[in-house]
């Protein structure tokens, strides 16, 4: 099943035509065209969507949106992200990218590398970090090296939403089904909304969880920007689980193509016995299904007991699903740019060293 959900650009090779691939910057009028292309791919990621790029611009990033064209047809491309700084030591990032046409992966990645190299010169970047959600490295990956940290979790858990409700329930672990029934018996209510007035409700629960679990959480402003951008594009919803009027759990779900991704969430420490998170994720799956999604992505999973995700993963695995590992973030260094930076440092600091 998972071959249908993820894949590398070299799967399902099609016969090449004798047309050369071109690259150019996308304009606003091509927004829907670009989004349709990225949505249609099994490995198309919401971080390559137009709205996500707009959100990142609100966050201070600069974005460069490039399309690969065969004749006049858009067949691939990449949104590059860059956080401006006067230093000549920066990264160009393509989270969830690039988007490569299967039959033209080599040419496509070459054009994107050349484009990125030119951008790097312009903005002072020493490397391009890409992070496609492919399960295999393609042959065209020469020159890319594994980066130490991933922006997208390279291991995740996917729930297949194509079976009917009873079948999805049956695929859950017994404890998961039991807890879900328990939350129903307790009368935990769930709702999904794109009303921005739910952002503080979500954030209060999220931040409580951050502090309890001691992980790094983004500030309130980040979620204001994120939700306002994605709600306007009908790409996300906040899910709330309440009991007797009190919010016990909250999640943020992003919808993109066939995939609903549980991006952020948290639960209150109070009334844990209500099992509100079970009711909420189950409702999120139904909501995703109703919106035409075929995959529910738990966004971060580990099978290792000592991993920081171990506790979360134990909870997530109660819903069944298939763990999927993607290739993770990879860096492509621009050695000339890196040399520029180092030469500048060596020259300017020569007098300061012993």
């Amino acid at each position: 099943m998972m071959n249908e959900l993820t894949g590398s650009p070299e799967q399902n090779l099609i016969v090449k035509k004798k047309i050369s691939l071109r690259i150019r910057q996308l304009n606003l009028a091509e927004r829907d065209l670009w989004d349709s292309l990225v949505k249609a791919l099994p490995a198309g990621c919401f971080m390559q969507s137009w709205a996500w790029a707009d959100f990142k611009e609100l966050e201070g990033y600069k974005t460069f949106r490039y399309g690969l064209f065969l004749d006049k047809s858009l067949v691939g491309g990449c949104i590059f992200y860059y956080y401006p700084h006067s230093s000549q030591a920066n990264l160009l990032i393509a989270a969830g990218g690039p988007i490569l046409p299967p039959a033209y992966a080599d040419e496509g990645i070459q054009l994107l590398k050349e484009t990125a190299a030119n951008l790097a010169k312009e903005v002072g970047a020493i490397a391009l970090r890409i992070e496609p959600i492919w399960t295999e490295k393609p042959a065209c990956f020469e020159g890319f090296v594994r980066a130490p940290a991933d922006l997208l979790p390279s291991e995740t858990l996917l729930i297949d939403l194509r079976p009917n409700e009873a079948e999805i329930l049956a695929a859950m672990k017994p404890k998961g089904r039991y807890n879900l029934r328990l939350s129903n018996r307790h009368g935990v209510a769930t709702e999904f909304t794109t009303n921005s007035q739910a952002i503080p409700l979500f954030y209060d629960i999220f931040w409580e969880t951050v502090q309890r679990q001691q992980f790094f959480g983004e500030p309130y402003g980040f979620f204001i920007n994120l939700c306002q951008s994605l709600f306007a594009a009908n790409m996300a919803e906040i899910g709330l689980a309440t009991w007797r009027g009190k919010v016990l759990a909250a999640i943020l779900v992003v919808y993109w193509g066939n995939r609903a991704t549980y991006l952020y969430g948290g639960r209150s420490f109070e009334h844990r016995q209500m099992m509100a998170t079970y009711a909420l994720h189950w409702a999120a799956m139904q909501q995703a299904k109703a919106r035409g999604c075929t995959v529910y992505d738990f966004y971060g999973f580990s099978r290792e007991p000592n991993h920081a995700y171990a506790n979360f993963s134990k909870f997530k695995s109660q819903f069944g699903g298939v763990p999927v590992t993607t290739i993770g973030a990879h860096d492509y260094f621009f050695y000339e740019r890196l040399a520029d930076t180092l030469i500048s440092l060596l020259r300017n600091l020569e007098g300061d060293s012993k």
Binding site: A89, I93, F216, L345
Partner: protein
């Protein structure tokens, strides 16, 4: 940077956010605005009793500061300049019930433009009082309107003896930033008095006590403040409470003579805001206070030697540390200088966790290729460095271990390390990464989230120590060993 606005409605009114930072909550905005506006205008009124007052408000597009200036019948004209038309629009719509329609008052002229641009066109000595109600800086560009050059402009358009007040930052959470502003005001020829205030909604957001400055070219005396007259119907401010706002604990004021000032040439404020360098108090001074109405201080006007957020500054700090560590291996490095926080979403702890993958970052580099690239441009390199890099390239080609590095080679590898670290620190999302490829995980702090004092012994320092001492050691051999295939996994 684009601006995002958000209005959060609650039972008793609303809270307004710009770029995720709370601007005001109607539940307690009177506290903020009355302390920002009333002392300044009251003092100007006392100093110019025979004049119709002209007031300039910079920022304040919500109309709330203007509302409080309009309480003074002696104010004949207000110019309000705000660069954000959307906020000005809200000032005449959503915020109108709270600002009493101030932006549509006949005494108010609204300008939608950059304050700096507006003020540069204004004649000298134009205003009796100036109020700066700007947002908290979210990027280096935002700090222009907190620079000495800005305050010099303000001073220029202010009448001799006129008064200014400016929104500051939290003296509690951003002490060095607060005193940097204080010294910057003093250096611009404005005798500034710091004030601090507890605003409940700000506290709820973790901002700490909030700070302001009251200033003038002429000294501000307690005797003057004692007799200023407030308008009627104020909600929060009283003379007694106002006096208390000038009183600070000695602990918070301690760094005020040591900070550098913020100028356009050598910006310092953003570094201070990102790197608050919180220090635990020393018990012997507990309870000691400083009343700024009792003292008249001159500015120190200490200029920074460099922008500490720049790659060059960071590299210089690492170089200095490298030689210090060689001389005295037990010396504790100043982590704040070595790894300054570069983004407002990051904490020192997050930044330092980046050290955990320094080794992996170095391992990503094809050192032979980098050296060849550099040696092709050897005429651009200082001769001694070029010579040593050539030897290093030969060693690698011959498969010899990289140990006992000559000093310039060690410096080069240090700068490479810093460059790679910097590139990763500058990317805001990097610290929220969802896992290391080494199998450990980021996204989680490994301890408490308090700011460390410099010299705090923890694992990060151990890593720095390892890097400093081991820069010429065997660990580099392991990283750059050509047979290492960890990058091909």
């Amino acid at each position: 940077m684009a601006t995002s606005l958000f209005i959060e409605h609650h039972a008793n009114g609303l809270a307004f956010y710009i770029n995720g930072d709370l601007q005001f909550d109607t539940a307690d905005e009177a506290l903020y605005h009355e302390y920002l506006v009333i002392p300044t205008v009251s003092l100007a009124l006392q100093r110019f009793p025979e004049n119709d007052l002209r007031v300039l408000i910079c920022g304040g597009g919500d109309g709330l500061a203007a509302r409080d200036v309009l309480r003074f019948s002696q104010v004949s004209h207000i110019d309000l300049v705000d660069c954000n038309p959307e906020v000005l629009e809200l000032g005449t719509t959503a915020f109108k019930p709270y600002n009493a329609g101030s932006l549509e008052n006949e005494r108010v002229t609204v300008y939608s433009q950059e304050a700096l641009e507006f003020v540069s066109t204004v004649a000298d000595n134009s205003y009796h009082a100036i109020i700066c109600d700007f947002t908290y800086p979210t990027c280096p560009e935002d700090t222009t309107i907190y620079s000495r050059e800005w305050f010099q402009q303000i001073n220029r358009v202010l009448m001799p003896g006129g008064t200014i007040s400016t929104n500051g930052v939290s003296p509690e959470n951003r002490s060095n930033g607060f005193w940097c502003l204080y010294q910057t005001l003093l250096s611009a020829g404005l005798k500034a008095k710091p004030l601090q205030l507890e605003i409940p909604s700000f506290h709820r957001h973790g901002y700490g006590n909030w700070g302001f400055f009251l200033g003038s070219q002429a000294q501000i005396l307690r005797s003057e403040i004692e007799v200023i007259v407030f308008p009627e119907d104020l909600q929060t401010i009283t003379h007694e409470k106002l006096f208390q706002t000038f009183v600070f604990s000695e602990e918070i004021t301690r760094s005020r003579h040591d900070v550098t000032i913020h100028t356009l040439e050598c910006p310092q404020l953003f570094y201070y805001l990102l790197n608050p360098s919180f220090e635990l108090g020393e018990k012997e001074n507990a309870g000691t206070t400083v009343d700024f109405l009792e003292i008249q201080e001159s500015g120190t006007a200490i200029l920074g030697s460099r922008d500490l957020l720049k790659l060059e500054s960071m590299a210089q700090a690492w170089l200095e540390q490298m030689y210090e560590s060689s001389a005295s291996p037990d010396a504790q490095p100043n982590i704040t200088k070595l790894l300054p926080v570069q983004h407002r979403y990051h904490s020192p702890k997050m930044t330092r966790e980046g050290l955990a993958y320094l080794r992996h970052l170095l391992g990503e580099i094809d050192l032979s290729r980098l050296l060849n690239t550099l040696l092709e441009r050897s005429q651009e390199l200082p001769p001694k460095i070029a010579g040593e890099l050539k030897q290093l390239a030969e060693k690698i080609r011959a498969g010899q271990p990289i140990v006992n590095l000559p000093p310039k080679t060690a410096e080069f590898l240090m700068m490479l390390s810093v460059t790679l670290l910097m590139a990763n620190l500058l990317t805001p999302d990097a610290v929220f990464a969802k896992g290391y490829s080494s199998g450990t995980s980021s996204g989680y702090s490994s301890g408490t989230s308090v700011y460390y004092t410099d010299g705090y012994i923890n694992w990060e320092l151990k890593i720095v120590g390892l890097v400093m001492i081991g820069i010429g050691g065997g660990w580099l051999y392991n990283i750059f060993n050509p047979s290492d295939s960890s990058n091909d996994e």
